[in-house]
Amino acid sequence: MSTQEDLDLSAHEVGTDERVKEQKRFQRLLIRPEMGSVAGAIAIFVFFLIVADPFRSLDSFATVLYASSTIGIMACGVALLMIGGEFDLSAGVAVTTSSLAASMIAYNLHLNLWVGVLFALVISLGVGFFNGYLVMRTKIPSFLITLGSFLMLTGINLAVTRLVSGHVATPSVSDMEGFDSAQKVFASTITIGDVSIKITIVWWLLFTAVASYVLFKTKIGNWIFAVGGNQDSARAVGVPVKAVKIGLFMTVGFAAWFVGMHLLFSFNTVQSGQGVGNEFLYIIAVVIGGCLLTGGYGTAVGAAIGAFIFGMTNQGIVYAGWNPDWFKFFLGAMLLIAVIANSAFRNYAAKR
């Protein structure tokens, strides 16, 4: 699907035709996919500024950004996949698989942790390839394929960990070689002024920028929109549909690897039962950010804003000191409002 910004109006002579209503620059800005979520984010931000005193400090903002960043890195990969018209339910436990793989191979074979990190990358990309290949090969909806791999990974995480280590959690790797340098890359903290900023925030912004560039400035970006919009016509005009989709699943694998490494190097040990249910957080963030569940539409920036809204809501409730019994209710209500506002905004802007 070609979006508005693909058309370079200045390069063409646009004949005035009464059937084509010309859109103003402002309106074109309004119908960008992430505009609804931007408005939602601003509204939620202002709301918490008013109701929660501690929300106003820079330290809290750094905490909110950190909470958003690990969701956001995954949401970035998941957004690309969803724009490409597919779904990944295994993304939550794939993160755990990745950190378990890195930890266990390095620990049991006495390897430098960087070997574990690379091994985990191979595993994570392999899981992505497995998902993508099966979806393309069988033509079964990715919802079902990845539901299968979600369950398989959950089982593998538990069974292999117990088989190898005899426990359900991996032992600490913090005294092994390579830990310090790997921690610098995946889990360090940068202090600017008095504010400590986790490095995942930097990576999150970088990944979002790269994904946006790929989506809107490269041929591959066009391919992603094409396979998400209409797979058959994309194939008809020569888009390598299979490669694109498998690549997108592997991109999610890459993101899962990255977050998995963050978990390992910031918490030293991994519990093998972790991660179940987190796939929904990523999908929620992406959908809030304006990506359509049906594919072909959305942006990486939107996914980042979606993750930010999620982090803000999650932490804002705590900063506001609300009765924790209602925690999940508040969270659900905020998310629902964000999504409805998002969709209303899009409809309103599109009608004008």
């Binding site: 929660a52 005193d53 501690p54 400090s57 330290d59 809290s60 905490t63 909110v64 909470a67 960043s69 690990t70 690309l80 939550g92 390095a106 620990y107 006495h110 390897l111 430098n112 942790l113 070997v115 690379l118 990309l125 959950t154 005899g166 359900v168 959690a169 032992p171 600490s172 913090s174 005294d175 092994m176 070689e177 995942t200 790269v210 591959i220 690549g247 592997m250 991109t251 890459f254 963050h262 978990l263 910031s266 918490f267 040990t269 519990q271 039962g273 972790q274 991660g275 179940v276 249910g277 987190n278 957080l281 999650n314 932490q315 705590v318 506001a320 000191g321 924790p324 925690f327 999940k328």
Partner: protein, 333 residues
Amino acid sequence: MSFVAGRRRLTVLAGSTVVVLGLAACSSTGGRPNSSEAETETGTADTPRATVAMITHEVAGDSFWDLVRKGAEAAAAKDNIELRYSSDPEAPNQASLVQNAIDSEVDGIAVTLAKPEALAPSVRDAVADGIPVTALNAGMDEWKKMGVTAFFGQDEEISGEAAGQRLNADGATNSLCVIHEQGNVGHEARCAGVVDGFDGDTKILYVNGEDMPSVESTITAKLQQDPSIDYVLTMGAPYALTAVTSVANAGSNARVATFDTNAELVDAIGSGEVEWAVDQQPFLQGYLAVDSLWLYLNNGNVIGGGMPTLTGPAFIDSTNIDSVAEYARNGTR
């Protein structure tokens, strides 16, 4: 991300890194201990081989239940018992597992009664079939009514009260009870106990236990929101270690304590990062639940004599950490 070019680049990158790492791929520090784990040598009973089913409400992959299971396995190995372990956090499913055990005619059943109403019918069936049943960990008020022979565990509310009193002794005024599984009856009972036993203020905070970064930032957020919090209490060892990071993030002076232990936590208590842990001795719960069945089957004994046998709350702190540390490293404490 551009994956076609990216994949090629990645192959090159991965290839070259492997070469570089190949030169220095081994870690001379840390890693798996070279000697195999010291197993307690207990010998094996020459009583006829029996089959015992242990059915818990474990959420898969929780390090606490690992210890319970290890205890059960240790007892089974010593008693010439074949142990069939299964678990399901959903009460109806756990009840079906009990039914399965009855159908396969096991010689004894050890079961957790976290949701007693749901499990009572199948437990009664087992007792009616002449299968001895022991209960462990949860269900201290209900086990007797069902005809269960013995109970091993701690009263969660009493352990919470003990923790609350300990907070008083430590001079705390404002504590935070962190629950990583909203709606878990045991966790809620512990925090309710803390509220009763503690003279100061107790606030409850729910976190998403499946997502450690969010646990970390939520506790950080709470400490920033309420700087007067001077003690953080978690419901499991891994979350205590995360809380230590949150306290540092928030620049708070709060101290951290927890329920339940694992190997990393023992180190953290040794180094003073975590003050103490309420230990309910999960290994002992698993061990006694199986061993008591052996005693009952072979000699008609009932441990506890019809009263619950308490395995906690005992405190692990800097004064007794050394006696626990060795076993914790072996994964049995």
